[in-house]
């Protein structure tokens, strides 16, 4: 009778050779036992995920204020607990990527929401949201809820943000890049049906992945993003 203890030790390669072979045999012979091993293996991944999320959360503003010696009177930002920023470190294009941009992402070049910069007149609520929200945060707009997912630089070094628009039961994925006149929508995907449990539909995610790869996206760290937000995304002139 094989115990959890042996299975656990197997996962850590802590059994002697004979012991390891014995468990291998058992795994090969019994799908039920194999599933048990795999469930235990999964725990490690889940724990790491949890700890990683702690590191990714922005520090409370009160703490940063104390250290920066600035009086921060703004109310603390609503921190969305289920933050899933894209963890993408693209060093090269993976071989399995075709290279064709996802057909479903409509490239909307040249569309601007409104002229005008931030904190000024003529700025749309969407532009404001893109300017003020940290990745993972949402804001209710008239047309629905906007949630920023990721900040990144594209292949030409422009700052861009990927966001989701939740309108009723539809989720639209969008990408906007910072130009001289403000945030410009580069791509906006037609709405996909969302279910209450998901922030993004699986197909929506796939399209976004393809578009990000096409744009050679290099993620901006949360720390850098914080600074950018504080500075109002000063447009970086070449």
């Amino acid at each position: 009778m094989i115990t959890d203890e042996e299975l656990s030790a197997f996962l850590d390669n802590e059994l002697d050779d004979a012991g390891m072979e014995r468990i291998r045999d058992a795994i090969a012979e019994s799908p039920e036992l194999a599933e048990r091993v795999e469930a235990l293996a999964m725990v490690d991944a889940q724990l790491k995920f949890g700890l990683h999320k702690i590191d990714e959360r922005p520090m409370p503003k009160a703490i940063e204020a104390m250290l920066n010696d600035t009086a921060d009177t703004e109310a603390s930002v609503d921190e969305v607990s289920n933050v899933l920023p894209f963890r993408r470190v693209r060093k090269h294009t993976p071989m399995w990527l075709g290279g064709a941009i996802a057909a479903c992402l409509v490239v909307v070049v040249g569309t601007q929401w409104d002229a005008g910069r931030f904190a000024g007149q003529g700025v749309t609520p969407q532009q404001l949201a893109l300017t003020e929200l940290a990745s993972g945060e949402s804001r209710e707009l008239d047309e629905g809820s906007l949630r920023v997912n990721l900040s990144f630089r594209n292949g030409t070094g422009e700052l861009c943000r990927q966001y989701s628009l939740y309108e009723a039961r539809l989720v639209k994925e969008g990408i906007a890049c910072l130009r001289e006149d403000g945030w410009q929508t580069m791509a906006l995907q037609p709405g996909r049906h969302s279910n209450a449990l998901e922030f993004q539909t699986a197909s929506g995610r796939a399209d976004v992945d393809a578009a990000l790869d096409e744009m050679q996206a290099q993620p901006v760290s949360l720390a850098e993003e914080r600074v950018l937000i504080e500075r109002g995304w000063e447009w970086e002139n070449e």
Binding site: D4, L11, R24, A39, A41, D44, K48, F49, K53, L197
Partner: protein, 158 residues
Amino acid sequence: MKNEIQALLPALRRYAYSLTGSMADADDLLQSTVERLLSRSVPENVALPAWAFRVCRNLWIDEHRARQVREKAVHDPLLQDAQVTDGEAQVHQQLTLEKVQQALATLKEEQKQIVSLVAVEGMSYKQVSETLGIPTGTVMSRLARARAALSNELGWAW
């Protein structure tokens, strides 16, 4: 799917290493696994991580084991396992920091310590035993109980 697979790679790789016993074979197995995962869709009532581990295991069985030990062998092993799934549909459960914290809260202090040192920090049983001043047998049993309890709480949430 690619993001989720990427996040699972370290755990899959360790499993592949336990199965094959060699880093080179493990990486080969891992590559085959990823190729297979990307070329098929996940069956409806299986959580992605469960499916990923299963694909890895079956590829290992078919490619690396000398003897055919699986009964009722069907030509496509992946098809067979789709039928082996238990009847209950596994709803996709989102893993959150809160869920992990709640699950950890159910552990005894000593279990929490050990699971953190081994499962997260990657320390060997010997190292943990020396650090905490307890026998390796105790490390093994506490760790196993911790993993089992956490698995109970978290299931395949991802």
